[in-house]
Symmetry: C2
Subunit: 255 residues, 2 copies
Amino acid sequence: MPGKTSTVGTARSYREEVVPASGAARQYDGFHHAFTTAERDAVYRAIFERRDVRRNFLPTPIPEHILKRVLTAAHHAGSVGFMQPWDFVVVSDRSTKRAVKRMFQKTNAEAATRYRGKRAALYRNLKLEGIEEAPINLGVTCSRQRGGPHVLGRSTVRDTDLYSTCCAIQNLWLAARAEGIGVGWVSILDHSALKRVLGVPKPVKVLAYLCLGYVSNFATRPDLETAGWRERIPLEHLIHYESWGNTVIERKGKR
Amino acid sequence: MPGKTSTVGTARSYREEVVPASGAARQYDGFHHAFTTAERDAVYRAIFERRDVRRNFLPTPIPEHILKRVLTAAHHAGSVGFMQPWDFVVVSDRSTKRAVKRMFQKTNAEAATRYRGKRAALYRNLKLEGIEEAPINLGVTCSRQRGGPHVLGRSTVRDTDLYSTCCAIQNLWLAARAEGIGVGWVSILDHSALKRVLGVPKPVKVLAYLCLGYVSNFATRPDLETAGWRERIPLEHLIHYESWGNTVIERKGKR
């Protein structure tokens, strides 16, 4: 049904095909652009309650239509020159997960040797992945040659295709949170080995390996904050007015 | 007030300090983790109605507390090793905007020479930035040395700090959409010149230059799709099952 697939991507069609029409969905037909306070709060809720999940995964399978909904959210990120450089490799096979888990264990053992004393002990106690517990693993790739040699907006910053793919990942992460699905990004992997396991061709980059599943609970704070690994930086240290260095903190200091 | 700033970042505190408590916000106190259907729909709405905005900016200023809310959303992205490598340079000064606009014009004139015939004419007709119309411009940076030499999770993939910063940008983009604020990412800029204009130090990378402002209207589709520059790829072409190449399309073709 080419007619049908060609409309999958439009903003109007997600309500018809992906998200079943609810009262809230019907309210904003015709694209009246303001969000209600409740809608706005829900967006902030997803943003603030999203976690990088490595524990509490339930074995409950993710239904195909919900996985598709979450991937549709990813696919609706903006991309440089409308390049849409991403692909998604959906892994549920146990033997693939086991192979990736072994890769993680090897790389993580090496990483652990970088720390000394208390920090090393703390590191070894952290749970940093949920590869085998999560019902779905997801490789997110970036096809760097998609869209031909001259992608609009990419001539000055070549890596904008990678950046677009990261934006897609964040969309997926937030949509998943709204669905009650936890997502964990496992970065402690040898990416050339990972490419072989997933069968990803040479010119395509594997950007992320994610673990997805329903969870019994979302933590209220990031695990690394709770574990005392590192603190959240106060936002006002990070906002510079007009040019670098002119933060509220700096200005207070100058008084 | 150090006691106050130190709680700005916690998930609980955003409701108290950033988002004024509404009925919807009170409902989920105690972190009961399920979203209502209306909340879930609102998250999808933000995702599907977010646009890369280059036109329709209104001169209405963005109040400080709303800008801060949107930046708080960015700051609540996950980051590799809880590194939080981002900073935000908030520009409202006209002369800075004018300098950046001139940089864009120069780079864009060069970019236009890459296309021929109809494509070149189409390119020249596209509006690719709203630098001077948008009340706020925002440089988003990535401090690559923040968190010391051994950032947890970054030993195998050095660029995960950049990826985290992109996730922060997507949070900001979606929060802005929920606030009725349009955001446009201008990538057609010489980033070394941009760093000089913003006074950003050498080891810090400028990842994105964004234009923010209230808009009269959000387009229903991406501008490049409407202009016929490029079409949206059907999602089913991009989902591979278990390993690369095993898409629904491929499987259909093999029948």
